[in-house]
Symmetry: C2
Subunit: 221 residues, 2 copies
DNA sequence: TCAAAAGTGTTCGGCTTACACCCATGA
DNA sequence: TCATGGGTGTAAGCCGAACACTTTTGA
């Protein structure tokens, strides 16, 4: 099928070139819901479909830098934690041309909201993870894989303060975990586990406006 | 730096194109050692350096199909388990042109040996994981990441019969685990754990020529 | 018959799970 | 003052780690 045998190209790499795209599932936590930032396409193909934000890899940029550029454009966020999820290379995944996508996910704090739709994007919106539209391209799959990776990372490492304000209560953190993992956690066991990880600092202040007067914590360092 | 803003290209994808390569760390288990298959480059750049086998993504092929084509060429193996490891996109990682690599690893049974070096490869050889040459390009990094992923998968899923002959003893399996993880395991605990996973079948036959008369097992299904 | 490897069970400690009451605060 | 949510400890079960002797076989 390919014109040049793989072993030739293993070394000379003079085969055909191909567009590389990056896509990034941006997760946020608002109104006690896990949300994801989606954009609506203003042009064909998949005009008026919601998709995961992304763009082509820039000529002088690494994949990570390309994702950061996309997100800075969309949300003004300049620095965030990116995690590579997977590559997608089906020949027919883009109806017009061959595109290989590398997907990432990012976690953002709710303080940083996305701004106005620009360029070929007609709308941009946070969607609850429980109430998603059908996505264009193979983005349903990308989202599913990103969510799976997020959950797996959550179980391994624990503590995902990136999704919360700088100071938060343990109940807020637990709510976040429950929404991401989609299961209920025991309050006492959760607090024990989180605190014995020794990654949070007790600020000795209480959150006002909430019954019970919960303590505010922040991430170490 | 890039000519087109990421948001434009998010949709139109009319930016510059780039070569995509696949690289595959092929792990084998021989002479009670974890080994990896390396090839020596016959041309510049990195002429006479050992590298991880790979090649360009084929025009009509997915990444996985491209890896399989590379490996079939090298070893005659047609079917095997591939695992995506990561993408590498540093702008300078290939001295001549921009190349983005997607790395994989594969596990092969020792029955299937690689054949003759072809095309621009001047040599091909199994190396013990404990006695590796310095690799060309950024392949030291690729190998390190692949090994890390292999170990992590081993701890999660357990049972990696792909690296052994169809029928094997529990001691052989344990040796494999110890070599991959680079740590010693308790024989009784290992056997308990493996057997209670209920993935192996007792063939009721014993391996000849070994003291103690160990039982041969095979993978279920 | 002897040396080498296979095969087997039990105990202990730590981690996870389940579970209920009192306290602080806002309304 | 009352309703809501915050904060806390203990017991039981499960899993992983440590550990030694007997059986089988090849030499």
């Amino acid at each position: 099928m390919s014109k040049v045998g793989p072993l030739d190209t293993a070394v000379s790499l003079d085969s055909y070139e191909c567009t590389i795209a990056v896509e990034c599932c941006v997760f946020g936590f608002q109104e006690n819901e896990l949300k994801i930032l989606l954009v609506k396409r203003g042009i064909e193909p998949f005009k008026d479909n919601w998709v995961i934000p992304g763009g082509a890899m820039g000529e002088g940029k690494t994949l990570t830098q390309s994702v950061l550029a996309v997100l800075e454009n969309l949300t003004g966020i300049k620095q965030l934690n990116l995690e590579q999820v997977a590559c997608y290379s089906d020949v027919e995944r883009h109806p017009v041309k061959r595109v290989v996508s590398i997907s990432f996910y990012a976690l953002v704090k709710p303080e940083n909201y996305p701004v106005i739709p620009k360029n070929y994007i007609s709308d941009i919106k946070w969607f609850s993870i429980n109430d998603l539209p059908q996505l264009g391209f193979d983005h349903d799959q990308l989202l599913e894989d990103a969510l799976k990776k997020l959950r797996s990372n959550l179980r391994d490492h624990f503590v995902f303060g990136e999704l919360l304000p700088d100071r938060f209560t343990l109940t807020e953190l637990q709510d976040l975990y429950e929404k991401i993992l989609d299961e209920e956690l025991d309050r006492r066991n959760f607090r024990k586990k989180i605190l014995q990880m020794d990654l949070l600092i007790d600020t000795n202040e209480k959150k006002a406006g909430v019954k019970g007067g919960p303590t505010l914590f922040e991430m170490k360092k």
